[in-house]
Amino acid sequence: MKSDVVQAASGIELKADSGPPQPGARVGLVGIVAAGIAGSLCCLGPLVLVSVGISGAWISNLTLLEPYKWIFILATLGFMVYAWNKIYRAPLAADCEPGTLCALPQTNRRYRALFWIASVLVALMLIAPYFAPLFY
């Protein structure tokens, strides 16, 4: 309840040291990774498979996903916003039930680190097409 008051009062202000993430933070991080992989299947999937020596005509099924990659990219960005909210606009530690995951500060540090690692990977995925011609 206390966090609601703080959030309402501070608007979009960051609460960098506000405490552990809400339970949804994990869902957000998993969502970023899952949607990011789904968005990469069409185009990076065949390259990864060829690189590790896996081949087969079935791979053309992956390339058929290309028109839908924007859906997955939007989903990835959506999960990033969601995870950011859960991790950086988290309730105060005092609001967490003692003994839960939420009450452990190191959990939040880990989630923040994972969030930024995931963000860098997503950024790489988004800018990769502009650097790809260098490898043609």
């Binding site: 081949s55 005509a57 011609p133 043609y136």
Partner: protein, 97 residues
């Protein structure tokens, strides 16, 4: 003297002409499904695994790949097989094969 140098010249020419029997050929494959930024990299990587490939140039626009290969070691069918097995079916557009 003159005769022996002629013979050695012939021998030399013969030595060099043997590899020339396995001529390098160039083919242009049309790869219509190559429609994303990373796709030409994949196609090139797949073709480079085929033995006897000298040069591969894949482009997104137009979606084609120009392959120079040793026709004693591989043929156009194998090249098409390679792109198909990487997920990108191709067809011959042109070339001296």
């Amino acid at each position: 003297m003159k005769k022996s140098s002629l013979i050695s010249a012939l021998a030399l020419a013969a030595a060099f002409s043997v590899p020339a029997l396995a001529a390098q050929k160039t083919v242009v494959l049309s790869v219509p499904s190559m429609n994303c930024a990373a796709c030409p990299i994949t196609v090139r990587a797949a073709l480079n695994k085929v033995p006897g490939i000298a040069k591969v140039k894949a482009t997104l626009v137009p979606p084609e790949v120009v392959v120079t290969f040793d026709d004693a070691k591989t043929d156009v069918q194998q090249l098409m097989q390679a792109t198909r097995d990487a997920g990108y079916p191709s067809s011959v557009k042109s070339g001296n094969h």
